[in-house]
């Protein structure tokens, strides 16, 4: 436990130095060095846990009301720590490069970098401590830090709104979580997670309520549909590294907590698994559909987070079903697929957000309808973004393919009970295929419109290659994406310990031999590697012919004066598809079309809005209106207010008496 404490101290020291040292350079270095040290310490501490699965533990005395705090790093904590802290470090490197232009205008990056340190610190608190109050504290530090990180560009009202929207949403989740913890505390008389286990292991109505509360709270944190409304706003408003860290790393805490409580529950009931699967399928499909229509690159990537947590959730749901049915093979495949996709998503989503940030850095916009042809001016960024894109579409030979392959293996495995369960899970596999194809559509659109073709808007800044401080973090992530794709054993090793820990909660599992997932994935990985080699060989064969190729213009079907405005736009690319789903994806249309024989100028603008958010605001608006009407009717007399207060107090006291 020593290195972890030292890492926490290093992070705090770095945060303090980052806001107190004079000069931006010293502040950046203090954040970078402290995070680098923390990364080394954390990795050093958790690698043995991942290798052996044996937890490390320590207890500290703490003043009332927390009292004893138990720190414990088991396989689950180790799995999350081993990539969260390093990725935050990489994100901080990116931040130093990304914030540089702002510093010229007199902004101070110290606070921002200190908040990144605090985020990393919060991970240590949330992942390593087994105490509900410390957990909540870490949860809150991460939430508030994320909020402050999002509103870096606070003079912009839209960004303040997005930040506030996030702050409110995350605290609604917090209330639900506190409610769940209150139930758990009242049942166990302790705030220690281990003390919750006896209550959570006993089937009962109260446990079911607690489970649903927990899933809602964690689902809100991880932006499952329909609790995702804050996410696209926050992700498009925040600086790219903040979006990357929020989407890829910070919000994975929700999934961590979900897994933590699955471990405590031990043997879940089948409905819990179905609940998770159903919510995740909804999340994956809706996330994918919304991803296909966005024109703000970062908003698009934000929706794709909802899609990908859905995919992760499908895996975890299958794992829970496996535990409930005492089918350890299924549990293993489900949890492996889910955990691996979680790690993979962190890798490629950060990469894509960093790519979007690089585009913003040089072009000052991420509106894909105004971009185009960036690949020739920033080839490295384009190549790295494409790697992330192929991975996020789950295509070989990159890491997304491996995790989706394992997920299919779980969904279609023979261990699924014949009949309705197999029918349903096969259906889920088909939905996963649909989601994969839609995300391929989205990424072709995002990459193609942004990086290929010709520039669409002459007003967009003449772009150049992104600076090295932005490219290095992207290269690191891309290396991870490629490595886990062609050498899946590495990824499976990282998730191996946590999967074994989850499967071992089923005591009957020990008797049944578990499948060798390494061996199962190996042929697919080898085949996709062969595919890459085959492409190389073919390109070598035609190299001379291609080199001799003549240069000409794009075929315009005989039209002599093409312009870059005639290219297919992002909207025109996705509209034929998204129009099929207009029922769930409202498209607002404002137009004044030219009429009569001598038409005046017309205009047309379409706006893709979030159905859930729209409905939410509608209900809020209706509610406010109703309250105002009520207020207008009722006389404004202090006596009534006093009376109402008295009734409320009576109600609370009555409830408290009943609860005894």
């Amino acid at each position: 436990m020593g290195p972890i404490v030292m890492a926490a101290v290093s992070l705090l020291t770095g945060a303090v130095l980052a806001i107190s040292l004079p000069g931006q350079r010293a502040r950046s270095w203090s954040a970078l060095v402290s995070q680098g040290v923390a990364t080394l310490l954390v990795v050093y501490a958790v690698i043995p846990v991942l290798a052996s699965g044996v937890a490390i533990e320590a207890t500290w005395d703490w003043p009332y009301p927390i009292e004893g705090v138990r720190g414990r790093i088991d396989a689950l904590s180790a799995f999350f720590l081993v990539w969260s802290v390093p990725m935050t470090f990489i994100g901080t490197v990116y931040a130093v490069g990304y914030l540089k232009p702002y510093l010229k205008h007199g902004r101070d990056a110290g606070w921002h970098l200190a908040l990144l340190n605090m985020t990393s610190f919060a991970f240590v608190g949330v992942y390593a401590m087994q105490h509900a109050l410390v957990f909540l504290l870490g949860w809150e530090i991460a939430a508030v830090a994320a909020w402050l990180l999002v509103i870096w560009d606070y003079p912009n009202q839209k960004i303040r709104f997005a930040g506030f929207n996030y702050l409110v949403s995350t605290h609604i989740g917090m209330f639900v979580l506190v409610a769940a913890f209150m139930i758990l505390h009242s049942q166990s008389g302790s705030f220690d997670f281990a003390a919750f286990a006896p209550f959570l292991r006993e089937p009962g109505q109260l446990r079911d309520v607690t489970f649903v509360l927990l899933v809602v709270a964690f689902g809100l944190k991880s932006a499952f549909f329909p609790f995702h409304t804050w996410l696209p706003r926050a992700h498009s408003a925040a600086p790219a590294h903040v979006s990357a860290l929020m989407s890829g790393v910070i919000h994975k805490a929700g999934l961590f907590a979900l897994l933590r409580f699955i471990l405590l529950i031990g043997t879940p009931e089948a409905w819990m698994g179905w609940f998770l699967v159903a919510g995740s399928v909804l999340s994956a499909v809706m996330g994918a559909l919304y991803t296909s229509t966005q024109r703000d690159l970062k908003r698009l990537l934000g929706y794709s987070s909802t899609e990908n947590v859905g995919i992760v959730g499908i895996g975890l749901g299958v794992g829970v079903l496996g535990l409930a049915w005492h089918e350890p093979v299924l549990a293993m495949l489900g949890f492996t697929g889910g955990a691996l996709h979680l790690l993979n998503h962190a890798l490629f989503k950060c990469l894509l957000f960093y790519g979007a940030g690089a585009v913003y850095h040089v072009a000052h916009t991420v509106d894909i309808e105004r971009l185009g042809g960036l690949a020739r001016r920033m080839p490295s960024t384009a190549a790295l973004f494409l790697i992330g894109g192929i991975a996020i579409a789950g295509l070989p030979p990159l890491n997304g393919f491996i995790s989706e392959f394992v997920l299919y293996a779980g969904l279609l495995d023979g261990a699924v009970p014949a009949g309705i369960p197999r029918l349903l899970l096969t259906g889920v596999a088909a939905v996963l295929a649909f989601v994969g194809a839609v995300s391929a559509l989205s990424i072709v659109r995002a990459f193609g419109v942004t990086f290929l073709g010709q520039r669409r808007d002459a007003k967009v800044h003449e772009a150049h290659e992104a600076p090295r401080l932005l490219l290095v973090p992207m290269t690191l992530h891309a290396t991870g994406v490629v490595l886990l794709g062609i050498w899946p054993a590495a990824g499976l090793w990282i998730v191996g310990a946590v999967v074994r820990q989850l499967v071992a909660t089923d005591v009957t599992a020990a008797a049944i031999p578990l499948p060798d997932v390494d061996a199962m994935v190996a042929p697919a990985a080898l085949a996709s590697l062969a595919l890459a080699a085959l492409v190389g060989v073919l390109l070598l064969l035609v190299r001379r012919a291609q080199h001799a190729g003549a240069a000409h213009v794009t075929w315009g079907c005989g039209y002599g004066a093409p312009s870059s405005r005639m290219q297919y736009s992002g909207t025109s690319f996705s509209l034929p598809f998204s129009a099929l789903f207009e029922g769930v994806m409202p498209r607002l249309r404002r137009q004044s079309l030219p009429t009569h024989y001598f038409p005046a100028d017309g205009h047309l603008s379409t706006h893709q809005v979030d159905a859930v958010e729209r409905r939410m605001f509608q209900i809020l608006g209706d509610g406010e209106q109703a309250v105002q009407q009520l207020r207008a009717k009722s006389p404004d007399v202090p006596r009534y207010a006093f009376g109402a207060g008295l009734v409320a107090v009576g109600l609370i006291v009555g409830l408290a008496m009943l609860a005894r």
């Binding site: 070989p396 309705i420 390109l539």
Partner: protein
Amino acid sequence: MPSIVLAAAQVIVLLLGPIALVGVINRTKSVWVGRRGVPLLQLGYDLSRLLRKRPVYSGTTTALFRVAPYVALATALLTGLVVPLLAVRGPLSFPFDFVLVAYSWGLGRLFLMLGALDTGSAFEGMGASREAKYSALVEPAFFLALGALGAVTGSRSLAELLQFPVRTPADAFAIVAVVAALLVLLQVESARIPVDDPATHLELTMIHEVMVLDHSGPDLAAIQYAAGLKLLVGAGLIATLVNPVDAVSAPLLFGGTTLALILFIGIAVGTVESLMARFKLRALPQYTLGACVAALLALLANAWNAGGVR
């Protein structure tokens, strides 16, 4: 038959099959309209002519445009080695190999779409958009169909799945529904009538062809060959599934029957193309949905069989 001989034989089928299959389809079409038609091996002549030509590249394109055709070709070749074309088992058969098949096709498609967008042409953007749309709509059908085949036996590789035993009427129904779904899939994936018209001359009505307007020379040859390969692989899937011969006792007969069935599917495709017009683009989502529904019905029938749904 030793597996190495089998693999070699499958490679030969892969190299020559697309030319023959496309030839059969074209010959069928010309017979239906009463023409003599092009030689059976016309695709072969076309390919060799294209390979000798000098490619032309638009100044808008990047390296991606030059890579895309060969990714498409490589994915088609790889899936050709996974899918059984002669025996019950393809040379590269492993559990859940069909996931690799579907996702490799997805990769080839992704690169073709990116190549299309790389030209900055409105027509090619349109083609890419349509390709993305219809492939997304038809993708679930493939997994539902194969899931349906595995729903009773719990088998996991194409080699096992395609040996679907027909014992009850529900099985027979399932196999018919699966074949129907796979045929629609074949039409969408390899751009045949009634989904797409490979011979149309109006860019606005094309799906697949309009994506490759700017490719020329060896690049175009790679794309045409890859399209033929996909057709062959899709037909091979269906042929192996419906092959009635017992592969264990008569392996040679099994292989011969599969090849004959592939050619028969070619004739069927050509016949459909001769007798039908291309659907309106508006109607295509329903058509692809039909494939999904067929596969879903097969799945239901099999779940019923397995004793779950009563």
